[in-house]
């Protein structure tokens, strides 16, 4: 019987590799009886579904700009090669 710690590791790995049938079975049995690990599983999937949007938001938010000094340093480098 898996405990919650072992289950959480396998649930995480199930997002990264196919589990063996033994592992899948063991996880499924644990999830049947453990509401906390069921929540954990749903939450990892929820996080995964939002990661692409996280990247988009981080790149498109207007709060941060390439600092002017950095822009000038890069421009100087570009001039050397262009």
């Amino acid at each position: 019987m898996l405990n919650c710690k072992q289950t959480s590791l396998l649930v995480s790995q199930s997002l990264d590799r196919p589990l063996t049938w033994r592992e899948r079975l063991a996880v499924r049995i644990h999830l049947l009886i453990c509401v906390y690990c069921r929540r954990f599983t749903q939450q990892l999937k929820l996080i995964r579904r939002h990661m692409y949007a996280w990247q988009q938001q981080a790149a498109e938010s207007q709060d941060i700009e390439l600092p002017l000094a950095a822009k000038e340093r890069i421009a100087q480098q570009l001039d050397k090669f262009y």
Partner: protein, 180 residues
Amino acid sequence: MATNPHDWLNEHGDYLYRFALARLRDPHQAEDVVQETLLAAIKNPNFAEQSSPRTWLTGILKHKIIDCMRKQIRETPVTELLSEEDANMDEFFDDTGHWAEKPQAWGIPHDALQQKQFLKVLQQCMERLPQKLAAIFTMRDVDDMDNEEICKELEITTTNAWVMLYRARMGLRKCLEIHW
């Protein structure tokens, strides 16, 4: 369409910088990879007709970010890279392997406003993750790279990768639980 590198810098510099900063956190490293990206773009300006300059530049940038992470991981003492045995999970589980703090039910973000709030918290929690964990997690869950690719790019073992991804998810989940 802009083909002058200075136009790329002016039109996409902020975007590329924010993209890099979200992944690397360090402003100097972010600046460096943006510069390397534009220099690489000059050397090979034949981007595919169908992709926009921004998409094309972002593609180059992703590789530059990975190069930067690989260098840092290479400089990391082996003992600091996590293996299954030393992934210390005491903060999450008690001695018997039960949750130290039981996962609570979350509200699912449904409408646009909730989505926005959720992303804001996710952003803050990503910033709190250790840099290397955030980087590998981003390669996996944003870029959808498979483990084999990630291990090859970062020169780490499969077990390292699984455990780092596990730790990243555990940390992120816990932070979201507190703040979402």
